[in-house]
Amino acid sequence: MSMTIEIHKQLGAFRLDVKFQLEHGVLGLLGASGSGKSKTLQCITGIERPDEGKIIINGRTVFDSRKNINLKTQERHVGYLFQNYALFPNMTVAENISCGVHTVSDKRERTNRIGDIIDRMQLSGLEKRKPAQLSGGQQQRVALARILINKPEILLLDEPFSALDSYLKEQLMTELHTLLAEFQKDVIVVTHSRDEAYQLCDHIAVLDAGHLDIFGETKKIFQDPATRVGAELTGCKNIVKANKIGTTQIYVPDWNLILDTGRYVGEGVQAIGIRAHCFCGEISENAFDITVVEQIEQPFEWIVKFQYLGQNKETKLIWWRFAKTDKPETMPGKLGIKGKNILLLYA
């Protein structure tokens, strides 16, 4: 099980250049809207035709511009979960699912497989309903049942939770996680949510304006995103320009501070990122005087926006976030940050 994807396509002023390989597992395609995530999926399914490149799924070439191969969508065996699930509104749940097994000629086997997937996806009792009479979560399960019964070589999920409310989202995310583990095939999940990406994906590819910014193991990328876009998409709130001034030290012009990262700083470092929860009043490492500007209360945590004493007043406020249970009696006058928690960003 593997896939090789290389896509080059010019769309007006936008250019899509994506190239990656995946041996096995769940890949998250992360990126802001308009970064080319959905276009990439559409090229894999054959909805869009790349200008150049090749797409190989489990050893089968479905597209190769040099060899002039361009299989029809029907022949690619790619399962695609659309953002709005794309259930056929005129058909019942059972009819929708049976569209996934229409090529199976044996009627008994067809009925067996439909019954089987309806049980597995907990859809019994809903067979005769129309899609419009189902909740968002049920619609998603029908769409997944219809795709899985078709036995696709690879599964593409286009923002699977964007149409659901947040309560349902968390519940379905765990369900989907179990399902994907059972599916045992390659999956690409398009998302702009770092929580979804972190929970579902073994690997992450970050797209920025049509090109691949980072590609790697999910945990490693969250630990060390290495680029500004990566830091932003993994939820880092404080990203600021920085220059190397010593083996382990960097100077942050906006804050007028020198920070010690405690590790070797590469020559090409352009910025640093500090996650909002990494500041602490009790750390003496990189501790500097601050002034609190704003405090925002959230259900389970506080967000405090502050500036360093010597900071240029025109520059952005710094975010500090902590759980309500950790709220100090009085606001500390100094905040520290461990060197290892300073993300070094090279692009």
């Binding site: 969508t73 029907q74 794309a86 005129n90 569209c99 229409h102």
Partner: protein, 223 residues
């Protein structure tokens, strides 16, 4: 009372409605997929019979099928004559009713959610299956409305029909040409009967359209 015009009108309207149903849907599907420039040009050509006076359509039809013109001469040589025959009325009605079917069907096709077709393709469904089982049912309301309108228009066709097939009692006479003929010959009573027949048919057609629209709204309210 001679009921031939009713029967003749109904068969002309029914046959031309079948022709218009398939050709209208076919053209609508084809045009909806074209690039914008071609869409614009073809749209004008295909809608023209709706805005032209029916007599102009009739004149143009005579220009093609007239017995002194090449196409008419050729058709006559193989034994087909659209001038002054009842089945010539099918041509006249179909041409005039076509834009109604075409435009309503095109509107319906353009509102179709293409992701449905794509999800069908990813499941391996053939283009034909998608067209008949997904696209057509989705656009059902618009297509039925277009069909009913086309049928009503074909049934009431007068101008192009009278130019192409004239009025021959028990041969090319339709309801509309009969009403004109009876009024011209001062047979007020018979003319009045035919007017009542015409009103009755039109009322049934309009009722059908309204019922279909209501059903459509009810369904949309559910979703």
């Amino acid at each position: 009372m001679d009921w031939y015009p009713l029967w003749n009108s109904l068969r002309i309207a029914a046959i031309s409605c079948v022709i218009v149903f398939f050709s209208g849907i076919g053209m609508a599907y084809y045009v909806a997929k074209l690039p914008r420039i071609w869409k614009g040009i073809l749209d004008v050509v295909l809608t023209l019979p709706l805005v032209l006076p029916p007599t102009v359509c009739g004149w143009l039809l005579l220009l093609v099928f007239g017995l002194k013109h090449p196409v008419g001469i050729f058709l006559q040589s193989i034994g087909v004559q659209f001038v002054m025959t009842w089945y010539g009325g099918i041509i006249a009605s179909a041409v005039v009713a076509f834009p109604l079917m075409y435009r309503t069907a095109r509107g319906a096709f353009e509102s179709f959610d293409e992701t449905l077709a794509w999800s069908g393709r990813t499941l391996g469904l053939s283009g034909t299956y998608i067209f008949w089982h997904i696209r057509m049912p989705y656009c059902k309301q618009g297509i039925i409305a277009g069909t009913v309108l086309a049928f009503a228009r074909a049934l009431g066709e007068y101008g192009a029909t009278s130019m192409l097939i004239g009025y021959i009692p028990k041969n090319t006479a339709t309801i509309s040409t009969t009403v004109y003929q009876l009024w011209r010959t001062n047979d007020e009573y018979s003319a009045f009967v035919w007017v009542l027949v015409n009103i009755a048919i039109s009322a049934v057609v309009l009722l059908t359209v309204n019922m279909l629209e209501k059903r459509g709204q009810g369904r949309r309210a559910c979703s």
